[in-house]
Symmetry: C2
Subunit: 256 residues, 2 copies
């Protein structure tokens, strides 16, 4: 009988084409690796997984939520151990619990939290590649924090997504948006850096990376806060910034 489990999965996205499974020949995906581990553990080809959402190539997750359906009844703690024994080091299942058939990680998500990590120096550290992006310019943090406030609320994010996936509406609500300063302390090897933290009821394709790119341009003085406010509507405007690179982005938490 098929059993359903809710898994919390952590992954370093560097080596992967993203969450979503692809034809084998395209390359490695996180979902593909999770499916393989589930097949080994359940000794079955009848494995089905659903993630809370896609993450792009190179994007990381601290808490991706996955529904796994397998023909195996197992204690969730043992499932965690068995899966981690069959997964590559850069994918870890950190929690499992019993779930039911009607749980859908995508549609039932109330909100999601993303972090975008970046340094803002002309030079960067040898250890931040893959983990923290670099915006090699002087940035005005105060202006960027004003930009974060502009994003909060219910807006049409037509100007902050990349087409490709069909969606019913471009309206999303941002609950929290801020920039934190992170020091790794005296004994860390990672450089001090910034975290663009955003919590919302949903995000369009590449939306977080476009919000970060627009915020960088605000910080550089290339875009004004008025231009930013003007872009939060259904009318297409000239793009306000780059798509910030994937290595800085972390799907941190999905709330149900």
């Amino acid at each position: 009988m098929i059993q359903h489990y809710k898994l919390i999965v952590q992954y370093k996205g560097t080596r992967y084409l993203g969450w979503q499974v692809q034809p084998e020949s395209a390359g490695l995906t996180v979902q593909g690796e999770v499916n393989k581990a589930l097949a080994v553990v359940s000794k079955s080809g009848e494995v089905k997984t659903l993630g809370s959402g896609r993450t792009d190539a190179g994007v990381h997750a601290l808490g991706q939520v996955v529904k796994a359906s397998i023909p195996l009844t197992i204690d969730p703690g043992s499932l965690v151990k068995a899966l981690n024994g069959n997964l590559p080091d850069d994918i870890r299942v950190i929690h499992a619990e019993n779930s039911d058939e009607v749980f859908f990680p995508t549609v039932h998500a109330i909100s999601k939290e993303y972090h975008y990590r970046f340094t803002a120096h002309r030079s960067f550290s040898a250890f931040q590649n893959d983990l923290i992006a670099n915006c090699p310019f002087e940035l005005n943090l105060e202006q960027m924090r004003e930009a974060c406030k502009v994003f909060i609320g219910r807006h049409d994010f037509t100007n902050f997504y990349c087409e490709g996936t069909e969606v019913a509406s471009n309206i999303r609500e941002i609950y929290e948006c801020e920039i934190l300063e992170v020091s790794q302390g005296d004994w860390g090897m990672l450089p001090p850096h910034y975290v663009f933290r955003v919590v919302g009821n949903g995000f369009l394709k590449q939306m977080v990376r476009l919000l970060v790119g627009a915020t960088w341009n605000i910080g550089r003085g290339k875009t004004t806060l008025d231009q930013l406010k003007g872009a939060l509507g259904p009318t297409k405007v000239h793009r306000l910034g780059p798509v910030a690179p994937p290595e800085g982005l972390y799907l941190v938490r999905v709330n149900y």
Copy 2:
């Protein structure tokens, strides 16, 4: 005319065979990459570098010291920028200053500081691979801290090195040795971990990794402190622990 510079070089060792240059066909080395960048910047094949010591494959450096001799007179700040523009992202020159012909990074070093980072959980984080080793056992930290105290002082480290390089003596002095607990704070993505910190007047081949391996065995109760004390002499004894894996090791500082 050949000019001499003292460089401080940071690198993530994951992709490299180590510091020391090897025949091109063997693979990438940090010194090889630094030499290539120096050749481009000085527009010359007449490039010579000397590191403070070798680091093995996969071992990192926060502050390797390198003497670079090139037929180019350039302001040290400009040299840093030019080199970083020609180096891969996982090698960074963080400082340069003028040096002289008689400076030898190896023999003039008064002391070196190494850190060895590790977690001690059955499970580990998806982000620590390449950067923090995992010792998947319950460890008795108190006993391990006693082991650190045993190492301090002037000892014959015959039982704590791998043969391969000719050395005049196996006697070295350890000035400081301790285990620190590192939290990455609320906003870090790396897991809380331990740092085995050691400062000494010199280290034999793989010595730090063997000290760490022996300390792990003390923490697991597989080796006693008396056995450890007994091994600090010129008489060969049965090996006291594994060579801890390279990814946890960082050459932090070389003092002159």
